[in-house]
C-alpha cells in the first residue's frame, strides 16, 4: 500500500482509531475467533495438514485483542512465533492465514513462512519472528523511520517475558529511549519461556520496574481481563503517539496449552494451570456480558458466526494449491 493510500485508509478507519470506550461485543468476538481458530489448528495439526512448530496463543487472547484495538491502519505490528492471535486481530485475512498454515500458494506468505512467520504488508504486520527477541531491533527501526519522516505512527512490538533476558531487548529499549522512538514494547508475560519460569530467567521479576530502569514509562495490566488490557493499552498507545517516545506495557497472562505441539508440559503444576483457567479471558468477558444483559443465545450466535468464518477459512486453505516447485528460488532476491 502506498503511503498516500495508507493515509487515506487511516482517515477512514474510525472504529480502530478513536474509540473512547471498548466495544465489548467486538472484543469478545475477536477473542473467540482467535480461540476457535487455534482449536481448529490443533485438529489440523493432528491430521497432519499443519506441520513444523505450532505455538498456541490460547489463554492469551485478551492481550492482542485489547492492545490492537487502539492502532490505526498505518501503525505497525511486530509479533513473535506465537503470532496467530496478533495476525487475525490486526486484520490479516483469515483465509490466507490458514492457507499459510497449510503451506499453500494462497497463504499470506505463499507457503514460505508457515505458522511462525505470518506477514502481511497491507496491514503493516511485520511478522512472525522465530528468533526470540529478534523482532525488537526491527521494531525500533520502524519507529526510527517514522521519527525521521515525521509521521505520528506507532509500532507495537510483542515479545514474551523470556525475551527480556536477551541482549536484544536491552539494546533495543535503550536505543528507543535514547532516540525517543515511537514504539510500544508489549511484553506478554505468561510466566514461562518454554519450561523456564520467570524467576529462573530474570533477577528482577517485576518487569515494569525493569523496563522503567531505561527511563521508559512502564506499567503492567491484567492480561486475562480484556477490558483492563484495553484501558492500559489505550493509555500506552496514546502516550507513544503523543510523546513520540517509547512505552513499555506488561500484560500478565498465561498460556493454557503447552509451549508448542512438541512440549509435554512437565514443568508446570496442573493446579497452577487450573488456577489460571479460572481466569480464562473469554470466561471473564462472557460473565460481564451476561451480567450486562446479553443472553446465552446471543453468545451462541457469536460462536456460530465465528465458526462459520473459520470453516470458510479452512475450506479456502484446503482448496489452495501448491506453489509450483520451479518457483522455489523466486523471492530470494529481487533479481534486479
Amino acid at each position: 500500500m502506498s503511503a498516500a493510500r495508507r493515509k487515506e485508509a487511516a482517515a477512514t478507519s474510525g472504529s480502530h482509531a478513536v474509540a473512547h470506550a471498548p466495544d465489548r461485543d467486538a472484543l469478545y468476538e475477536r477473542m473467540l475467533l482467535v480461540r476457535r481458530f487455534e482449536e481448529r489448528c490443533v485438529e489440523l495439526y493432528s491430521s497432519g495438514l499443519i506441520r513444523g512448530f505450532l505455538h498456541l496463543y490460547i489463554g492469551e487472547e485478551a492481550v492482542a485483542v485489547g492492545v490492537l484495538d487502539h492502532l490505526r491502519e498505518d501503525d505497525a505490528v511486530v509479533a513473535t512465533y506465537r503470532d496467530h492471535g496478533q495476525a487475525l486481530v490486526r486484520g490479516v485475512p483469515i483465509g490466507p492465514v490458514m492457507a499459510e498454515m497449510l503451506g499453500k500458494a494462497e497463504g499470506v506468505c505463499r507457503g514460505r513462512g508457515g505458522s511462525m512467520h505470518l506477514f502481511h504488508a497491507p496491514t503493516r504486520f511485520y511478522g512472525g519472528n522465530g528468533i526470540v527477541g529478534g523482532g525488537l531491533p526491527l521494531a525500533i527501526g520502524l519507529g526510527l523511520a517514522d521519527r525521521m519522516q515525521g509521521r505520528d505512527r506507532v509500532t507495537v512490538c510483542f515479545f514474551g517475558e523470556g525475551a527480556m533476558a536477551e541482549g536484544e531487548f536491552h539494546e533495543s529499549i535503550n536505543l528507543a529511549a535514547l532516540w525517543r522512538l515511537p514504539v510500544l514494547f508489549l511484553c506478554e508475560n505468561n510466566l514461562y519461556a518454554m519450561g523456564t519460569a520467570l524467576d529462573r530467567s530474570e533477577s528482577e521479576t517485576n518487569l515494569a520496574v525493569k523496563a522503567a530502569s531505561y527511563e521508559v514509562p512502564a506499567w503492567s495490566c491484567d492480561g486475562m481481563d480484556v477490558l483492563a488490557v484495553w484501558e492500559a493499552a489505550r493509555r500506552a498507545v496514546e502516550l507513544v503517539r503523543d510523546s513520540g517516545g517509547p512505552v513499555f506495557l506488561e500484560a500478565k497472562t498465561y498460556r493454557f496449552r503447552a509451549h508448542s505441539m512438541y512440549d509435554a508440559d512437565r514443568y508446570r503444576e496442573k493446579a497452577e494451570i487450573e488456577h489460571w483457567r479460572e481466569r480464562d479471558p473469554l470466561l471473564l468477558l462472557r460473565t460481564t456480558l451476561l451480567a450486562d444483559g446479553a443472553t446465552e443465545k446471543d453468545l451462541e450466535a457469536v460462536d456460530a458466526r465465528v465458526t462459520a468464518v473459520i470453516d470458510e477459512a479452512v475450506a479456502y486453505a484446503e482448496a489452495g494449491t501448491d506453489e509450483p516447485v520451479d518457483e522455489l528460488l523466486t523471492f530470494v532476491t529481487s533479481g534486479r
Binding site: R51, G52, F53, E100, G103, K104, C109, G111, R112, G113, G114, M116, H117, N129, G130, I131, V132, G133, G134, G162, A163, A165, E166, G167, A193, M194, G195, T196, R200, S201, E202, D263, A264, R266, Y267, D322, E323, V325, L328, L329, V332
Partner: protein, 332 residues
C-alpha cells in the same frame, strides 16, 4: 523382529547416555543451556538428567546465548568441563562472537597460556518444515575457524562415543547434531567403544566413485549408494564426521582410487562444506580425477515451510543419484 541380545537405542538416547557417562566419570562435567533441565531439552535429549544430577550440574539458563556460551568459556578456564547446549544452530549466531573471538582465539592469543576445554552442542539442519529461521546448517562457519574442532556425528555410535574424547580435548569443540537424526534407531554401541575424533571413516567401500558426506546427509547418501549398486555402480561412502580439522587424506586416498567424487552436504552450496572438500580434492587428486567433482547441496534459498518446497530445496537421494551417474558418465 530379531531377538538378539543387542540393545536397541536411538540417537537421542545415545547423546544422553554419552552425557550421563561423562558426568558420572568426571565431576567437573556439567550441562547448561536453555531448557536442558526442567523441560528436558528442546529436543528431549537431556530428559531425566536434572533428576539424576540435580540443578547445579544440569543448569537451565535464561535466553541469553552470548552470556551462557561465554560463561561456558569462563567455567572451562576456571577448571570445569562444561557442555553447553545451544538449543539449535539458528540461535548460535547470537553467541558467535564468544565462540570465535574468545574460545577459538584464546590459546593462540595468550601464547599458549590458556586453553578452553569446552564442548558446545547444538541441533542443526532442516527437513522438519521449520522454515527459514529454524533450518540452518552453519557448520561450515565453524569449520572455517582455527582453534575449533567441529564434530558431526552421523551415526548412533558416533553420537554415543564422540563426546568423551571431545571433553578430553583441551580445546573448544563444537558438536552439530542433525535434528532429524534424534529418532534414528539402531543397536546401542558396546560399552567402551572408542571413536576417533580426528579421522573420517569409510561407511561403505566401493570402487567406481566416492561419495563424501557427513551428519544429516549420511543416511540419504548410503541409500543412494545402495541404489547405485543395483545399477552396477560401486560407490564408496566417506563420512567426514570431523569437519575441522578436515581429514583430507582419507578423502584423497579414496578419490585417487575411484577417480570420481560427489560431495553432499545440507548447507547452501556456495561456501558450504562441499566447496572445501571439492577444493581439496582438486589439490590432492587432480591428476587422478576422471571427472569434475560435483556437489549436491541445499538450494540457495532460505528454507521454505511448505513440505514440497522444502524437499525441493534440500539434498535428496534422487539428486545424489543424478550427480553420481553424471560423475561416472552415465546419463551425465
Amino acid at each position: 523382529m530379531t531377538t538378539t541380545a543387542v540393545q536397541e537405542t536411538t540417537y537421542r538416547e545415545a547423546v544422553r547416555e554419552a552425557m550421563r557417562e561423562a558426568m558420572q566419570r568426571d565431576e567437573r562435567v556439567f550441562l547448561m543451556g536453555e531448557d536442558v533441565g526442567r523441560y528436558g531439552g528442546g529436543f528431549g535429549v537431556s530428559l531425566g538428567m536434572i533428576e539424576e544430577f540435580g540443578e547445579v550440574r544440569v543448569r537451565d539458563t535464561p535466553l541469553s546465548e552470548s552470556a551462557f556460551v561465554g560463561a561456558g568459556i569462563g567455567a572451562a578456564l576456571g577448571g570445569m568441563r562444561p557442555i553447553v547446549e545451544v538449543m539449535t544452530v539458528n540461535f548460535v549466531m547470537l553467541a558467535m562472537d564468544q565462540i570465535v573471538n574468545t574460545a577459538a582465539a584464546l590459546r593462540h592469543m595468550t601464547g599458549g597460556q590458556f586453553s578452553v576445554p569446552l564442548v558446545i552442542r547444538m541441533t542443526t539442519g532442516g527437513g522438519r518444515q521449520l522454515a527459514a529461521q529454524h533450518s540452518h546448517s552453519l557448520e561450515n562457519w565453524f569449520a572455517h575457524v582455527p582453534g575449533l574442532r567441529v564434530l558431526a556425528p552421523g551415526t548412533i555410535e558416533d553420537a554415543r562415543c564422540m563426546l568423551w574424547p571431545a571433553l578430553l580435548d583441551p580445546d573448544p569443540v563444537v558438536i552439530v547434531e542433525h535434528g532429524s537424526l534424534y529418532n534414528a534407531k539402531g543397536p546401542a554401541p558396546t560399552p567402551g567403544t572408542e571413536v576417533d575424533i580426528d579421522r573420517a571413516v569409510v561407511r561403505r567401500p566401493g570402487d567406481d566413485l566416492t561419495l563424501v558426506t557427513y551428519g544429516g546427509s549420511l543416511g540419504l547418501v548410503l541409500d543412494a549408494a545402495e541404489r547405485l549398486a543395483v545399477e552396477g555402480i560401486s560407490a564408496e561412502v566417506i563420512d567426514l564426521r570431523v569437519l575441522r580439522p578436515l581429514d583430507s587424506a582419507a578423502v584423497a586416498e579414496s578419490v585417487c582410487r575411484t577417480h570420481r567424487a560427489v560431495v553432499v552436504d545440507e548447507g547452501w552450496r556456495t561456501l558450504g562444506m562441499s566447496a572445501e572438500v571439492s577444493a581439496r580434492i582438486m589439490e590432492d587428486c587432480f591428476y587422478d580425477l576422471d571427472a569434475p567433482v560435483d556437489r549436491v547441496c541445499t538450494q540457495e534459498v532460505p528454507i521454505p515451510y511448505a513440505k514440497h518446497l522444502e524437499e525441493a530445496a534440500l539434498p535428496s537421494v534422487e539428486r545424489v543419484l543424478t550427480a553420481a551417474r553424471g560423475a561416472v558418465g552415465r546419463d551425465g
